[in-house]
């Protein structure tokens, strides 16, 4: 498949992750002057987002990402996001991290599926980057990093042919094949059915460069049009008004990839349909641990480029809960069957000593203990807050 897919996959999933984290942090936000020491404030939120964005767009990391390479397994990619999500003072439990990843993947799957043209996945990526720039407006250094990535995207992708974009799209869809997790915001908006499949509308504007279906034109051997017949297509399409901009700034026209979460539309995944999903996910996990040596090398290279500022000293790491209450989060962790446990890497079987030591170090930093290491946890008081609502 296409060897140019990874940057698009990573940046779009990363964008969705930021939307979700931003929304959850805002939802748990307490005004700065009223907040206790252990509560999330606006300052905390901005700091978390800044930390994650600057790690994501780190130059060395981007260099590795943009190298032509095959897509790695979902497990390997998930490890990178685990690391990224912990690039700041924020901590996520396993259950919350699972939920975050589910939401991210289903959102981007939806966006890829509904792209009118294969090339529009680039507009979706630009939408994510535009929004990311909005989240970190106060930090000119990080803004510059994002712009650099923007330029690199434009350089690599703007010249690709429609055929190459079609291959990229097919590669992405193969990556997302058989994922049918239900997302409540999609169910409410009726873009996803209760069986987990997305609704494909047969109305609206046609892609840029496509004509509204319904016309047959016939020509003679001289190339002159001799007959025009209409036929009933069955859909309800209209002409596209304009093409989205592929410049650094511009109207993207396409809404896919913009932030669909807001304070009034909380993030939520329904997992009652999990039985169907678990078979396909379990099948994926049947492949024996450890990851192939190549995947471990990839991870080491990629994460080696991630400069993580580790919280040290008396500063606590604050826990963020993706669920509405701590009880829900606990429940989700308990009801998840064993085989879906996403403990990604079993290093013991690794042959390469040096590599495995390096990875052990990186993964040690990834360890999320269920009990917060520090005495205060911002998540605990959320329950108290919810009772007051």
């Amino acid at each position: 498949m296409s060897v140019r897919t990874l940057p698009l996959l990573f940046l779009n999933l990363g964008g969705e992750m930021l939307y979700i984290l931003d929304q959850r942090l805002r939802a748990q936000n307490i005004p700065g002057d009223k907040a206790r020491k252990d509560e999330w404030t606006e300052v905390d939120r901005k700091r978390v987002l800044n930390d994650i964005v600057s790690t994501m767009f780190n130059r060395k990391f981007m260099e590795e990402l943009f190298k032509p390479q095959e897509l790695y397994s979902k497990k390997a990619l998930r490890t990178v996001y685990d690391r990224l999500a912990h690039a700041s003072i924020m901590r996520l439990n396993q259950a919350s991290m699972d939920k975050l990843y589910d939401l991210m993947t289903m959102a981007f799957k939806y966006q890829v599926l509904l792209c009118p043209r294969p090339k529009d996945v680039l507009l979706v990526t630009f939408n994510h980057l535009d929004a990311i720039k909005g989240l970190i407006q106060d930090s000119p250094t990080i803004l510059h990093q994002v712009d650099e990535t923007f330029r690199q995207l434009m350089e690599v992708y703007c010249g690709l042919s429609a055929g190459e974009f079609q291959l990229i799209r097919q590669t992405l869809l193969i990556f997302f094949q058989d994922l049918h997790i239900r997302v409540s915001i999609f169910l409410k908006d009726k873009v996803q059915n209760s069986n987990g499949r997305f609704v494909l509308p047969v109305s609206g504007p046609v892609p840029w460069g496509t004509e509204v279906p319904g016309l047959i034109r016939m020509f003679n051997h001289k190339g002159e049009e001799v007959k025009k017949i209409k036929f009933k297509h069955g859909g309800n399409y209209v002409t596209a008004t304009k093409e989205g901009s592929f410049e650094l700034y511009g109207d993207r026209v396409l809404k896919l990839g913009t932030n669909m979460y807001s304070l009034n539309r909380p993030v939520d995944t329904q997992t009652s349909g999990a039985s169907k999903n678990s078979t396909s996910r379990a099948q994926e996990n049947i492949a024996p641990n450890p990851l192939a040596k190549e995947e471990l090398n990839f991870l080491a290279r990629l994460m080696g480029g991630m400069e993580i500022k580790n919280p040290s000293g008396p500063e606590p790491g604050f826990r963020l809960n993706l669920f509405t209450t701590d009880d829900e989060e606990e429940q989700a962790a308990l009801t998840k069957p064993e085989e879906l446990d996403n403990k990604v890497i079993n290093i013991q079987a690794m042959q390469d000593q040096q590599r495995s030591e390096e990875l052990a170090r990186i993964l040690g930093e990834l360890e999320v203990t269920d009990q917060p290491r520090w005495s205060t946890s911002k998540g605990d008081d959320l329950l108290a807050m919810m009772d007051e609502l």
């Binding site: 009118p116 042919s161 094949q177 892609p207 034109r217 859909g235």
Partner: protein
């Protein structure tokens, strides 16, 4: 009018590829064979329509040294004068099996020598022409294999150079006649079509330029080239000269598959817009110009189609596959 028949369940969902359904109609009996690509594996099914009994087999792509399992791009039955072979193309090469998939009779590894690192390497596009099997590649080269009446002594006879971008599909005239002047069409990612005359050496008859969109699927029937494009258009050309005779704004998304019912000149088009359309091809008795008539449209709700085939030569039934769908949907006329 068509109505839905019983679906055929698949063990794995269909991958989002083009031309992702192959149907082998055996002349004797009612048995039909279906082939669908899931990803690293392809599924073969033999279905008897009356009692719905199924025989299934899974084929894997020959493994490589890569990070992830080798992905299959296409699976297709090739009907030759004395035998039927099943051909499977992947990112590593070309495998040919006996028609039930039981024994692999030939393996051809792709030459990746001059591929730049940003280039995806694969084989795609499969068609039989007389005793040849033509297979397309990522570079635009079309490999022509000479197939003996039986046994594994398959030889690479020729490499056709006419395309500069990856081959998407290959079509051949359904009825092979000795005096056919243009009996093979190859299509690529840039939309370019090359029309050939087969033989011990293939000759290029004409080139039909693209217009900026891929041509994922192409068919050839009685000197008419039917091509489906990435912008939803179906175009019909005169094969010998390459003249455009018909342009249909047929679909709102890229076309993923075309098929022909040769007995009646019916054309089936399926696209990612969830629609299937059936067209009747003909030639005007006075001018000899190609004409077309729309016969039927079917919406397969919420399904991004990836394959479609007629199940019989008179076009009275057809089957489709869709991305993420673990079944083959069937329709037959009432």
């Amino acid at each position: 009018m068509f109505r839905r028949e019983h679906s055929i369940p698949l063990r794995g969902s269909a991958a989002a590829l083009c031309n992702n359904l192959s149907v082998l109609q055996l002349p004797t009996g009612n048995l039909r064979h279906f082939g669908v690509v899931h990803g690293p594996s392809a599924q073969l099914l033999s279905a008897a329509p009356e009692d719905g009994s199924l025989v299934q087999r899974q084929l894997q792509a020959k493994e490589g040294a890569g990070v992830s399992p080798t992905l299959i791009t296409q699976v297709h039955w090739c009907v030759l004068p004395f035998r039927v072979l099943l051909v499977l193309t992947s990112h590593r090469g070309i495998q040919m099996f006996e028609s039930d998939g039981s024994i692999m009779v030939y393996w051809h590894a792709l030459d990746t020598g001059d591929a730049p690192p940003v280039q995806a390497v694969f084989a795609r596009g499969i068609a039989a022409s007389g005793h040849f099997i033509c297979v397309g590649t990522w570079s635009g080269r079309v490999l022509v294999f000479d197939i003996p009446a039986k046994g594994p002594n398959i030889m690479l006879s020729e490499e056709l150079a006419g395309h500069q971008t990856s081959i998407t599909d290959i079509a051949t005239e359904p009825v092979q006649g000795g005096d056919c002047m243009a009996d093979v069409v190859t299509a690529d990612d840039s939309g370019l079509l090359c029309v050939w005359r087969s033989g011990p050496e293939f000759t290029l008859v004409t080139r039909i330029p693209g217009f900026g969109v891929p041509c994922p699927s192409v068919k050839l029937w009685q000197g008419i080239v039917a091509a489906g494009y990435g912008n939803g258009q179906v175009r019909l050309y005169e094969a010998m000269k390459g003249t455009l005779h018909v342009q249909i704004s047929a679909h709102a998304r890229t076309i993923c598959a075309l098929d022909l019912a040769p007995e009646v000149g019916k054309l089936l088009s399926a696209a990612e817009d969830t629609f299937v359309h059936i067209w009747k091809l003909s030639r005007s008795p006075e001018s000899g110009s190609i004409e077309v008539e729309h016969c039927h449209g079917e919406c397969v709700s919420n399904t991004q189609l990836c394959g479609a085939r007629f199940c019989d030569p008179s076009g009275s039934s057809f089957a489709v596959t869709g991305y993420d769908l673990a079944e083959i949907l069937r329709f037959s006329s009432v």
